[in-house]
C-alpha cells in the first residue's frame, strides 16, 4: 500500500465530487430533504386523527376522559353519537379513524380497579395510522387512569411517596409512547439517509470511470486494486460521516428527538455501517459498468432492505416469522437497533454487544470482498 498513490486517488476523487453537481446534491441536499420529508411525513400523519365518541355513561368521569382526548394534539374529537350503528357508519364512511366507547359502568369500574374500561375501535384499513392511533389512545387512557388512581390514593390519605414511584413510572413510559412515532422513527431515518447517500455516491464511482473511458489509463498505472478501493472510498467515507453529523444535528435541534447516548458510540456504529454500505456500493459499481444501472441496483440492495426490513418504521416483532428470520441478514437492522438504543436509551456500545458484533462482522466481510472485487484487467 503506497500512501502516495492512495492520497493521489483520494484527492482526485474528492475534486470530482466537489465539481460534480449531481454528487454534491446527493451528498448535501439529499440528507436534509430526506430528514425533513420522512421526519414530517411520519408525525403529520398521526396528528388530528378524527375521533367519534359513544359515551354510554355520560358521567363527570367520562367527560373528564373525553377532555383528555380533546386536549391531545393527536386527536380531533369530532362528534358524539348514541349507538354502535352510528359508529360503524362513521368508520365505514371514513368520517373517523378511531371510535371511543365508554361503558355504562365506567365510573364504578374505574374506582374499583383503578383502570378505565374503555373500548377503542380503530379503523384498521391503514395499518400504520391504526397502530399509531391505538398507541396514542392507550397512552391518553392510561394517563387518565393513573391520574385518577393517584387522586384516589391521595384522598384515602395513603402515603403518596410509597406508591408514587409505581405510578409515575407507569406514566413516564406512557409519556414516551405518546411521542412514539417521531422519537422512534427519526433514528431509523438517519440509517436510511446513510444507506441512500452512501450507496448512491459510491455506486457511481467505478462505473463513471468505465463510462468516461478513464478506466483504461488508470489500470495501466502501478496502482493496486486495494489502493483504488481505499483511495476512492475515503472521500465518500468522510462525506458519509459529515452527513451523519448533519442528520444528528437535525434530529436533535430541529425535530427535538432526545439524544441520550454518547457521540463516540454514535460515530463508531455509523463508521461500521458506512463501511458496509460503501463496500456494497463499490462492488456494485465494479460489477455494473454503467452509472445508471449501478445506482438502480445500489438503491435496490441498500435502500429497500433498510426501509422495509430494518425495523426503522415497521416493527420487526410484528412481521411474520419467515420475514423476521430474514431481517437477521439485513445489516441495517443492527444499525437501526443500535441507533434507537443510543438515541432513546442512552446505552453505550458495550450494552449492544451482539448488534455491534454483527455489524462489525458485516463490515469486515464486505470490506474484504470489496478489496477482492476490483481486478486490474479489462477482461
Amino acid at each position: 500500500m503506497s500512501p502516495r498513490r492512495l492520497i493521489a486517488m483520494s484527492r482526485k476523487e474528492f475534486i470530482q465530487i466537489v465539481r460534480d453537481p449531481r454528487s454534491l446534491l446527493i451528498a448535501l441536499l439529499m440528507p436534509v430533504m430526506q430528514m425533513v420529508l420522512l421526519g414530517y411525513g411520519v408525525s403529520l400523519d398521526a396528528k388530528n386523527i378524527p375521533v367519534y365518541v359513544y359515551d354510554q355513561e355520560g358521567s363527570q368521569d367520562s367527560q373528564a376522559l373525553l377532555k383528555r382526548f380533546q386536549a391531545s394534539p393527536y386527536f380531533d374529537v369530532r362528534k358524539t353519537v348514541n349507538s354502535y350503528r352510528d359508529l360503524r357508519y362513521a368508520i365505514d364512511s371514513d368520517r373517523c379513524k378511531l371510535a371511543i366507547v365508554i361503558p355504562f359502568d365506567f365510573s364504578r369500574k374505574l374506582r374499583d380497579t383503578g383502570f378505565a374500561p374503555v373500548q377503542v375501535i380503530v379503523d384498521g384499513t391503514d395499518d400504520n395510522t391504526a397502530n399509531l392511533s391505538k398507541g396514542y389512545a392507550r397512552a391518553v387512557i392510561a394517563r387518565f387512569s393513573a391520574d385518577v388512581q393517584h387522586n384516589w390514593l391521595q384522598r384515602q390519605g395513603m402515603p403518596i411517596a410509597a406508591s408514587n414511584g409505581n405510578i409515575s413510572v407507569d406514566t413516564r413510559i406512557w409519556f414516551n409512547e405518546d411521542l412514539e412515532s417521531r422519537n422512534f422513527i427519526i433514528p431509523g431515518i438517519v440509517a436510511l439517509v446513510m444507506a441512500l447517500v452512501g450507496a448512491l455516491l459510491t455506486s457511481l464511482t467505478i462505473a463513471r470511470e468505465w463510462e468516461r473511458g478513464t478506466m483504461e489509463q488508470l489500470l495501466s498505472t502501478p496502482i493496486t486494486p486495494s489502493e483504488v478501493m481505499l483511495g476512492k472510498l475515503i472521500p465518500y467515507f468522510m462525506v458519509g460521516m459529515a452527513d451523519a453529523a448533519l442528520c444528528l444535528m437535525m434530529s436533535v435541534w430541529w425535530f427535538g428527538v432526545p439524544f441520550r447516548g454518547t457521540l463516540a458510540s454514535f460515530f463508531t456504529t455509523t463508521a461500521l455501517f458506512l463501511i458496509v454500505i460503501l463496500g456494497i456500493g463499490f462492488m456494485i459499481s465494479v460489477a455494473i459498468r454503467n452509472q445508471l444501472g449501478a445506482s438502480m441496483i445500489a438503491l435496490l440492495v441498500t435502500l429497500m432492505p433498510t426501509s422495509l426490513l430494518s425495523g426503522y418504521a415497521f416493527p420487526i416483532d410484528q412481521m411474520p416469522a419467515a420475514v423476521r428470520a430474514i431481517t437477521y441478514l439485513v445489516y441495517s437492522r443492527y444499525y437501526v437497533t443500535i441507533l434507537k438504543a443510543i438515541y432513546l436509551k442512552g446505552v453505550g456500545v458495550k450494552a449492544l454487544g451482539a448488534e455491534m458484533t454483527a455489524l462489525a462482522v458485516y463490515a469486515a466481510v464486505i470490506g474484504l470482498l470489496a478489496t477482492r472485487a476490483f481486478r486490474k484487467t479489462l477482461d
Partner: protein, 320 residues
C-alpha cells in the same frame, strides 16, 4: 540487427481469443531499445488488443510476452512501472484541471514528490500548455489533449511507450508536432509503439508491423516493405467511370491487382511497358475513357493492399 541485450519487447506466438473469436492469431515480433515500431492495419486488425496485452491490461490466451524483462502473462502488474500508455480513446479526466490531471498521474506512478513539480512543468511545456495549467482538461482542443495525455504517460520516464492511435481525429498540424515529440522520445532511448490508421505516418516509423484480421501480414522497415511491391510495376490510372474501369481491370490478363485510391486507380501489373499500351486500348473498347495512365512509386498503402489481399481493408488516408 541490434543484439539481444537491446530487446525491450519480445512477443512469441501470441494468441488472444474473446470467446470463440480469435482477435490476435499467432503474432510474433521483437522491438529494440529506442526504436519506433509502427502497428498498421484496418479496423479490427487487432492492433489495440496487442498493445493492451503488452501493457498487461488483457491476459494473453497463448504465447509468451516479455516486456522490459517482465513476463506479462505471469505478472501483468510488474510491467506497469516500466511503461507509459495512451489508450485509443482519450482517457484523462475532463473535469480535472490540466495540472490536476498531471498531479494525479504523477501520484499514481509514484513519482518522487521532490521531482514531481519539475516533471509536471516539463510535461506542460512539452504539451505547449504553459498558461493553461488551470484550464479544465475537457475544454482543450484535440491536439492539446493528446499532447497532455502523452505528457501524463511520460511523467515517470518509462522505458517503453505505447501509443494507441495517438493522432486520430487530430488536425495535420498537431499530428506533425506529435510526431516530433515521438522522435524526441526515441532519441532518448525510449522504445515507442505506435498504432495508426494513417499510412503517411507509417513512413515516420523505424519499423512496421502490418496486421490484418489478427495476423501479422508483413514486417520490416518502410523501404523494405515498399520493396516487396517492386515485383511487377504499379500504374496510376485516371478513368471515367471509375467503377466500371475497376471491374474490367480486375479480370484482365497481365493485371495482378487493381484498387481505388482517392479518385483514381492503382493497378499492379506484371509488365509496365506492355500494360501501358494494351490497357488504354482495352478500356476504350469497352466504353471507358482513360484520361491518363502512368507508372508510379509504390506507397505503403499499396503494400498493404497487396499483402492484405483485399482492397476493402484500407481506405486511403484519414477518413475512417
Amino acid at each position: 540487427m541490434p543484439n539481444d541485450g537491446n530487446i525491450s519487447v519480445r512477443v512469441d506466438g501470441l494468441v488472444k481469443r474473446f470467446g470463440s473469436f480469435t482477435a490476435v492469431d499467432r503474432v510474433s515480433f521483437s522491438a529494440y531499445r529506442g526504436e519506433i515500431l509502427g502497428f498498421l492495419g484496418p479496423n479490427g486488425a487487432g492492433k489495440s488488443t496487442v498493445i493492451r496485452i503488452l501493457c498487461g491490461l488483457l491476459r494473453p490466451s497463448e504465447g509468451s510476452v516479455i516486456v522490459a524483462g517482465v513476463d506479462v502473462g505471469k505478472d501483468p502488474e510488474g510491467v506497469r512501472h516500466h511503461i507509459g500508455y495512451m489508450s485509443q480513446k482519450f482517457s484523462l479526466y475532463n473535469d480535472l484541471e490540466v495540472s490536476e490531471n498531471l498531479r494525479f498521474f504523477a501520484g499514481l506512478y509514484g513519482v518522487d514528490r521532490g521531482i514531481a513539480g519539475d516533471r509536471i512543468r516539463e510535461a506542460i511545456s512539452l504539451a505547449g500548455l504553459q498558461g493553461h495549467e488551470h484550464d479544465l482538461t475537457g475544454t482543450l482542443a484535440g491536439g492539446w489533449k493528446q499532447r497532455l495525455a502523452l505528457g501524463c504517460a511520460l511523467l515517470h520516464r518509462p522505458e517503453i511507450l505505447f501509443l494507441d492511435e495517438p493522432t486520430s481525429g487530430v488536425d495535420p498540424m498537431s499530428r506533425r508536432q506529435f510526431w516530433d515529440l515521438i522522435h524526441g522520445m526515441s532519441g532518448r532511448g525510449v522504445t515507442v509503439f505506435v498504432s495508426t490508421h494513417y499510412m503517411d505516418e507509417a513512413e515516420y516509423c523505424d519499423r512496421l508491423v502490418l496486421m490484418n484480421r489478427g495476423r501479422v501480414v508483413a514486417m520490416g522497415t518502410p523501404p523494405e516493405l515498399r520493396h516487396l511491391v517492386k515485383k511487377g510495376a504499379l500504374l496510376l490510372a485516371k478513368c471515367e467511370p471509375l467503377g466500371t474501369a475497376l471491374q474490367i481491370l480486375q479480370g484482365s490478363p497481365g493485371v495482378a491487382e487493381a484498387a481505388v485510391f482517392g479518385n483514381s486507380l492503382h493497378v499492379r501489373v506484371e509488365q509496365a511497358e506492355d500494360a501501358l499500351v494494351t490497357l488504354p486500348a482495352m478500356l476504350e473498347s469497352r466504353g471507358v475513357k482513360c484520361v491518363s495512365l502512368k507508372p508510379i512509386e509504390a506507397s505503403l498503402e499499396d503494400v498493404f493492399v497487396q499483402l492484405a489481399g483485399e482492397q476493402s481493408a484500407v481506405r486511403g488516408g484519414p477518413d475512417r
